[in-house]
């Protein structure tokens, strides 16, 4: 039979939105865990950092790798945001209608969406700043350098806000992904949905706790460390050649 020509753009956009969201969410979950290595020790965080700089593969560090990663994530981030922004209320009337709807319905999943929209909006700004810094100064990552940024470059509060936003956005997003595509749908969809929702909430709480503790640790280091002496962390075991 002759196939009709169909417009594939909407399908592609929808799919891309989900895929980019998924990649970002996986990235973020890993990212926050890596960051939290500071809770173990400075040494651990340092190892993670240089691992990403390629030390364990090449025997020396290339901060450019971080730049590359950050750039890739940024591209995905921008693509994701650009596609997702279509879903924002695009004029005041829509905004108002939605607001009234949310207040009237008092419906959890709808409210979650509002959180996603809002956090997406926040990340649009803070996330961009963060990503830009990571691309611009990739070598300034490490127990001390990061702590310095958190305390003395006043990124702390911003990071905290970013943490709240990104964690809730990411896990609500993952929950929504599961619902949207029917991922691992059980025979009784009500039960599987309730499970996913529970998982989402648990993960948000865990991640916010872990993230906040790491941030607290950076702040502690930032406040107690004397940066005039040592700007960059020096491992006692691993000796990097200067570059």
């Amino acid at each position: 039979m002759k196939q009709k020509k169909i417009d594939k753009t909407p399908a592609r956009l929808d799919f891309t939105q989900s895929v980019t969201g998924l990649i970002l969410a996986i990235f973020i979950s890993a990212h926050i865990l890596f960051e939290s290595s500071i809770l173990i020790s400075n040494e651990a965080m340092y190892k993670v950092t240089i691992m990403f700089e390629g030390y364990y593969f090449f025997g020396e560090t290339y901060p450019g790798i971080i730049t590359f990663f950050a750039a890739a994530i940024s591209v995905i981030f921008v693509v994701h945001a650009a596609i997702a922004v279509r879903k924002f209320p695009n004029n005041y009337k829509q905004h108002k209608v939605m607001r009234e709807h949310v207040l009237r319905m008092k419906h959890e999943d709808t409210s979650l969406w509002i959180i996603q929209i809002t956090t997406g909006f926040i990340m649009f700004f803070i996330g961009s700043v963060h990503l830009y810094i990571m691309m611009a100064e990739p070598s300034n990552i490490g127990p001390f350098a990061s702590s310095f940024r958190v305390v003395h470059e006043h990124m702390g509060p911003l990071y905290f806000l970013l943490l709240l936003s990104v964690v809730s956005h990411a896990f609500i997003g993952l929950y929504r992904l599961a619902m949207k595509w029917g991922f691992m749908e059980g025979k009784n969809t009500k039960v599987s949905r309730a499970r996913f929702k529970f998982l989402m909430k648990t993960m948000i709480v865990i991640y916010i706790i872990v993230g906040s503790l790491s941030l607290a640790q950076y702040t502690y280091i930032g406040l107690t460390h004397d940066f005039s002496e040592v700007k960059k962390y020096k491992s006692k075991i691993i000796d990097l050649r200067a570059h």
């Binding site: 020509k5 949310v102 999943d109």
Partner: protein, 248 residues
């Protein structure tokens, strides 16, 4: 002797408006009704009409939760009024017409027209040009489970609750809504309907169709017939993506 409990006095706030009266504006009006055993909002509203204000407009037909006529916002949430027992509600109850649909007056809305447009747009009927109907012959066979599955989706009563419960459609009225998507899922499942995936894509493969759905799941949570809307929308989404990948 068991003590007779004094019945509650329900305060029923109703959002009223008569679009045919040039002087009227939307306003809340509150009626006080003594609660009785097994009282539903159907009984409440009829009592108001019969004893308090005979101009109050609302729609009931089957009064048994079957026909889908009496959907309204009860304390902000869309539901079927006739089968809502007052005993399950607080004594302050607010009633308002479903948003989005044309208002006839007070709680009465013109869902019929909206649904008819939807059905016409989505062509919600069996498309089969190949098989002539022969009334004397045995009917075509169908797997019993499949028949049950189709009926499961066919149970929609076009009450519009899912429409009123969906944030997306509130913002973008062109969106087909869960009721429309569910209908497509129903016909897609039905082997008697010979439409191809590409033809279905034409109908719902865009932002006004399945890709417009933001998975807010208001629909699923308010549907009085408990239709598996989330699952069916997800199914359509997967199917539409596959179709877009196959079709060159």
């Amino acid at each position: 002797m068991s003590k007779e409990k004094t019945p509650r006095i329900l305060k029923i706030g109703i959002l009223r408006f008569d679009p045919h009266d040039p002087e009227d504006v939307p306003h809340m009006e509150t009626f006080e009704i003594e609660e009785s055993d097994g009282m539903t909002l159907y009984i409440v509203l009829n009592e108001i009409r019969e004893h308090h204000d005979n101009s109050l407009k609302f729609d009931f037909v089957c009064r048994a939760g079957i026909c889908g006529s009496c959907s309204m916002l009860v304390n902000g949430r869309p539901t079927l009024a006739c089968r809502t027992l007052t005993s399950k509600l607080d004594e302050n109850i607010t009633l308002a017409p479903l948003p989005l649909f044309e208002l006839i007056g007070d709680l009465s809305i013109y869902t019929g027209k909206w649904m008819r447009n939807l059905n016409e747009h989505l062509e919600t009927w069996i498309h089969d040009k190949e098989n002539e109907l022969e009334v004397d012959k045995l009917e075509e066979k169908m797997e019993p489970e499949l028949a049950d599955e189709i009926y499961e989706l066919d149970r929609c009563v076009e009450c519009g609750c899912c429409v009123a419960g969906c944030g997306t459609i509130q913002m973008r009225p062109e969106f087909v809504g869960a009721v429309g998507l569910n209908k497509i899922a129903r016909y897609h499942l039905d082997p008697r309907d010979k439409r191809t995936n590409a033809e279905y894509y034409e109908l719902i493969g865009d932002e006004d169709g399945v890709f417009g759905c933001m998975t807010l799941l208001g629909c699923e949570d308010v549907c009085p017939k408990d239709l598996p809307l989330q699952s069916k929308i997800a199914y359509l989404r997967r199917m539409m993506i596959k179709t877009s990948m196959k079709n060159n």
